[in-house]
């Protein structure tokens, strides 16, 4: 449903953040976008939502389309209305508003009836949020904030939900809960998910398909199991090293493989 074709993104017309990226998110799938810091993952999500311009970012080449509709010419609110909703990196709740006001903002484009029905749905999904509905969002714990951020996005009734590092800075238990929610949304509501993560092993466990981005380019893509089985991915992303036998050569080998990986 979502396709990016040869997308190039520059900041300030000087810094190339994304170079020639093509990717596809098919309907009803979970697609993981993996890569280290500064690889261009968040930039891609911002480009899809068309919110690059406040940071002087610009898509110079390529196409971004949803079911054939060109997203590059659509404004951010029209993109939300078309069903692409993002949970931004670092949650970005409105800190001085209550949890419920935050959630309500997610339904800004929806009718009053939809909003109150969806509020109940989100509260059922995250009972913790119901308890804290009148608390100031800025004072919530990290996990609660992430739940609120996801809940807020759900009020926009997304067809494609994009999550930017939902596991960032959270306790393992909370991460499990968040990821179970993502799986449930995909399974029960057939919501398509584009999941940006640094935690590759976690993301590959739930994803159907994965892309690995480095220095603004896709270096590897394929079904999640195949990516998880790739030797290089194992070493660079999943933390399995070939420690032991050939210790002396390891540094050299690592360097060479890293080089091949990037070229």
């Amino acid at each position: 449903m979502l396709t990016l074709t040869n997308v190039q993104i520059m900041y300030d017309r000087a810094i190339e953040a994304v170079r020639d990226v093509s990717l596809t998110v098919d309907g009803g799938r979970i697609v993981a976008l993996l890569g280290s810091n500064g690889a261009g993952k968040s930039t891609l999500l911002k480009a899809i939502s068309n919110v690059l311009y406040p940071e002087e970012g610009e898509v110079l080449h390529g196409e971004i389309a949803l079911d054939g509709r060109n997203l590059l010419t659509m404004s951010a609110d029209a993109i939300v209305a078309s069903g692409i909703v993002q949970v931004p990196e670092g949650r970005r709740l409105f800190p001085l508003m209550t949890v419920e006001e935050n959630l309500t903002m997610g339904g800004f484009l929806k009718s009053r009836g939809d909003v109150s029905a969806d509020l109940d749905r989100v509260y059922a999904m995250f009972p913790r949020l119901k308890e804290r509905r009148n608390s100031t969002a800025g004072y919530l714990s990290g996990g609660e904030q992430q739940m609120a951020a996801i809940g807020r996005a759900l009020l926009a009734r997304p067809k494609l939900l994009m999550l930017d590092e939902p596991s960032l800075g959270l306790a393992p238990q909370i991460i499990d809960q968040i990821f179970e929610t993502i799986v449930a949304l995909n399974r029960d509501e057939e919501m398509s998910i584009l999941l940006v993560e640094q935690n590759a092993s976690l993301a590959l466990q739930i994803a159907h398909y994965g892309y690995i981005v480095e220095n603004g380019r896709v270096v590897l893509d394929g079904p999640a199991e195949r990516i998880a089985g790739n030797e290089d991915v194992k070493e660079f992303y999943l933390g399995f090293s070939e420690a032991g036998a050939r210790k002396n050569y390891r540094e050299v080998k690592h360097y060479k493989r890293r080089k091949r990986w990037l070229s």
Binding site: P54, A76, M105, F108, Y139
Partner: protein
């Protein structure tokens, strides 16, 4: 005691005017981060247009108010579209400079159009005196106070309960996040300017009725400025109360201490208050969670 009460009452009257203008400052600052130095001039323009409508068409006062609200909203939207929209993405300081230029321009345009003479604003409320205990007020003075509280209530309800009002607060806190919720941020900016023009315009009309429609009306905008700083630039309601405080302190100091203090007492108050609370009495301190 009678002197005290009458000074407080007249302070509340002028304080209401300051307060309403201060709300206008705060609405624009809160949603767009711009300090609109032309707010007093926008207010004056609305009052002049309203005066012309009142004299030419001899509308009744309620009708005149409703028409003026429409005119003011239109003026706000046009000003935002012509002068502020093209500046989006430029440094805030540059935008503030544009508002200063706009202020000078509007002042001159008004003199060119309407001349430099003061005229009484006659399309007024039924004149007369109202006695409340020992306090004696003109009807239009009482109207200023009522208008102040009506606008305060409306602003509170708007930002607290309406969807677009909540969206304006959200945009103020995090513009990109608001964009991601589907808020059209440019429309929010236009709306803020429209609200500010309406609110300050009503203050301008009331002030012109109390005194006269004169080309120095814009100066009230400058007088209301300490009120906004005192109440908190990002707090419309706080700014409103700041206006009352500045108004009352101004009249009391003039009445008890001496002539001329009215002009500077407000600034003395804000200097002292800002030393203790740099973000104003009701301003929002940056929220930090550890």
């Amino acid at each position: 005691m009678d002197l005290f009460l009458n000074l407080v009452a007249s302070g509340l009257v002028i304080g209401s005017i300051y307060g309403i203008i201060a709300i206008a400052f705060a609405v624009i600052f809160k949603t767009t981060g711009v300090l609109n130095f032309a707010q007093g001039e926008v207010m004056m323009l609305v009052a002049y247009v309203s005066w012309s409508l009142g004299t030419e068409l001899s509308l009744s006062f309620p009708v005149l108010v409703i028409v003026s609200i429409g005119v003011a909203a239109l003026i706000g939207i046009i000003v935002e579209r012509l002068f502020i929209r093209p500046m989006i993405g430029q440094p805030i300081f540059a935008i503030v400079m544009v508002t200063i230029g706009l202020a000078v321009m509007l002042r001159s345009l008004i003199v060119i159009f309407w001349g430099a003479d003061a005229e009484p604003f006659n399309a007024a409320i039924e004149g007369g005196l109202v006695e409340i205990g020992p306090v004696v007020l003109f009807t239009e003075q009482l109207f200023a106070i009522i208008l102040f509280f009506a606008i305060m209530t409306a602003v509170f309800l708007f930002f607290r309960f309406t969807r677009i009002g909540i969206a304006m607060r959200a945009t103020a806190m995090d513009e990109t996040a608001a964009l991601l919720m589907g808020v059209d941020v440019r429309r929010i900016s236009a709306l803020a300017w429209a609200i500010a023009a309406v609110v300050s315009g009503l203050a301008g009309i009331t002030f012109a009725i109390m005194f006269s429609r004169a080309p120095d009306l814009w100066f009230q905008g400058l007088r209301a400025f300490p009120a906004t700083i005192l109440g908190g630039l990002d707090s419309p309601l706080g700014s409103g109360f700041g206006g009352l405080i500045i108004g009352v302190i101004g009249d009391l100091s003039e009445g008890y201490i001496g002539q001329g203090l009215k002009e500077i007492s407000g600034f003395i108050v804000i200097i002292i208050v800002l030393m203790v609370r740099p973000y104003g009495l009701f301003g929002e301190k940056e929220l930090e969670r550890v």
